[in-house]
């Protein structure tokens, strides 16, 4: 199994750490993983994205030009990445702040009201809610490994937040809405 994912949004949305937790979860189930961020002195609030690959085999190119899944959290990212989802792939997005909704018919499109839901629990869990939504649709890692992934990727002093994160993941799993099913 190989899953190639792009996660893209604003700088403060936890894009990079969502990718990191996914990657760590992959390691926990003995997969090969890669996490390739965009980087640079971008203005804070600028866009950030990360390409994450989980695979049972050696990963050749960590740099991709098409993806199995795109997780999109702002409009500029939508503009850039919608076309890069492989036919038959998945585009998951938070409609909050999106003016031009995706129009492709050859991919699964789903939404998650991450910002809204997070406001109810804890703003910081936004990215976990989105991750939950994704995992509902593509269960590439199981909860046990996610737990281990969280343990590995969070510094020890934040381990008490793991239950909250797991709760957020569950919320995401519940609240995801498939808009276009192929």
């Amino acid at each position: 199994m190989t899953e190639e994912i792009i996660i893209a949004g604003f700088g403060g949305q936890g894009v990079l750490s969502m990718g990191k937790i996914l990657a760590y979860s992959g390691i926990m189930q003995d997969q090969e993983v890669s996490w390739m961020p965009s980087y640079g002195p971008e203005m804070r609030g600028g866009t950030a994205n990360v390409a994450v690959i989980l695979s049972d085999d050696r990963i050749s190119s960590p740099i991709l030009h098409e993806y199995d899944t795109a997780i999109i959290l702002n409009q500029p990212s939508m503009d850039k990445f919608e076309s890069m989802v492989k036919p038959g792939g998945l585009l998951l997005y938070d409609p909050n702040g999106i003016f031009h909704h995706p129009t492709r018919k050859d991919i699964t499109i789903a939404t998650i009201e991450g910002a809204k839901e997070a406001a109810l629990i804890n703003r910081k869990t936004f990215n976990m809610i989105v991750m939950g939504a994704f995992l509902k649709l593509h269960p590439i890692v199981n909860m046990k490994n996610i737990h281990k992934g969280l343990e590995k990727s969070l510094p020890e002093r934040h381990h008490h937040l793991i239950p909250l994160n797991e709760k957020a993941i569950n919320v995401g799993m519940e609240k995801v809405v498939v808009v276009n099913k192929i």
Partner: protein
């Protein structure tokens, strides 16, 4: 699985330096490699192993701190990215001239000038042909995974001390910034002066004891006859390195009709190209030089006997390709596919380039 970590290439290199028993690191921030010194500062290696970490006032100061500490017989490292490496070249030439071991990593970005902070591979000539003045060479290791970013630190130090010569890790922004699974090496003890002397002889400025002549670190020789002798000695050493230290990886070259040559990030992409090509029925192979100098000349020349052509794929206007041409020496056509300015070629476009080449060759 104890020490499996998800780490950036830059961080893996930094952690590996601590674990290799490095004595000191001197560096100066520059994107995309500032994580190396940030990681080290965060890790407080002075507590873990006694390793010294110092942010210098410039790249030039950093390389000369390395020069001083290396001359004292220590395992020392510095890292930078393209423009910063240019500034270090006088110092690197000095280290080669005075035969000091050290490890220098260049996490390349696109040039020339200030250029872009995105990944590039356009410092190949600088690294392999001696960007600094004078006839010197240094072994150049080109990691293409985060694992290799870690592994080549220990290997690099070993080669550096074996030959008393600077060694370069030539990486790029993509490998430096990406995270992958990495198995970290075990912690090596830092060597005491006595152990260093026992292992590598007493040549360093450790303080002149009564039982020996003073040790001098210098690259100067005003008498040409003697300077030439020194140069001949260096060249003989380089020939020895060329004999012993060539490293490469062959991917499906056995039956390849057409061979890609690529290193670092580009090699990762070409791996995918090989798979894609083979799926389409093109018998592609990939020769990945791991040491860019000494260059795997012999194997490439041999592969030329059974293949129709070579394509060097690199994030540059064409540098590696010259070494491939020199190795092939006219046997079959050698061409080049490159992207520049921080652009990374996609596997798809490389495959198209291959197909075009094959059409031309017929």
């Amino acid at each position: 699985m104890e020490d499996v970590k998800l780490m950036k290439g830059n961080e893996a290199m930094a952690e590996a330096a601590i674990r290799a028993g490095a004595d000191a690191y001197f560096g100066y921030p520059i994107t995309p490699q500032s994580e190396v010194i940030e990681y080290l500062m965060h890790e407080r290696p002075e507590d873990r192993t006694g390793m010294v970490v110092l942010q210098a006032e410039s790249e030039i100061a950093a390389i000369h701190m390395v020069y001083g500490a290396a001359g004292a017989g220590k395992k020392v490292m510095t890292t930078s990215s393209s423009p910063g490496i240019s500034l270090k070249l006088e110092g690197i030439s000095y280290m080669a001239g005075s035969e000091l071991p050290c490890l220098i990593a260049n996490v390349m970005r696109g040039g020339p000038g200030l250029g872009t902070i995105q990944p590039g591979q356009s410092d190949y000539f600088q690294a392999t042909k001696g960007g600094g003045h004078g006839d010197y060479r240094m072994p150049v290791l080109a990691p293409s995974t985060v694992q290799e970013m870690a592994d080549f630190v220990g290997l690099g130090f070993d080669i550096a001390f074996k030959y008393r010569n600077p060694v370069m890790i030539l990486s790029d922004g993509a490998i430096g910034q990406m995270m992958e699974k990495v198995y970290l090496p075990d912690q090596q003890e830092r060597l005491s002066d006595k152990e260093v002397i026992k292992k590598y002889g007493s040549w360093a400025t450790t303080g002149k004891t009564e039982d020996r002549e003073r040790n001098i670190i210098t690259s100067l020789e005003l008498k040409s006859e003697r300077q030439e002798k020194h140069n001949e000695h260096l060249q003989a050493k380089y020939r020895k390195i060329e004999e012993n230290e060539v490293r490469f990886e062959e991917i499906k070259c056995d039956d390849a009709d057409f061979v890609l040559v690529a290193y670092g990030s580009s090699a990762r992409i070409c791996q995918k190209v090989v798979d894609m090509g083979r799926k389409k029925g093109i018998k592609l192979g990939l020769l990945r030089p791991i040491t860019l100098w000494p260059f795997p000349k012999k194997i490439i020349n041999e592969l030329a006997d059974n293949s129709k052509g070579f394509l060097a794929v690199e994030m540059s206007a064409g540098q590696l390709v010259e070494d491939v041409q020199l190795a092939v020496n006219g046997k079959v056509p050698v061409t080049h596919y490159g992207r520049m300015g921080g652009m990374i070629p996609s596997p798809g476009e490389v495959l198209v380039a291959v197909e075009n080449e094959l059409k031309k060759i017929g």
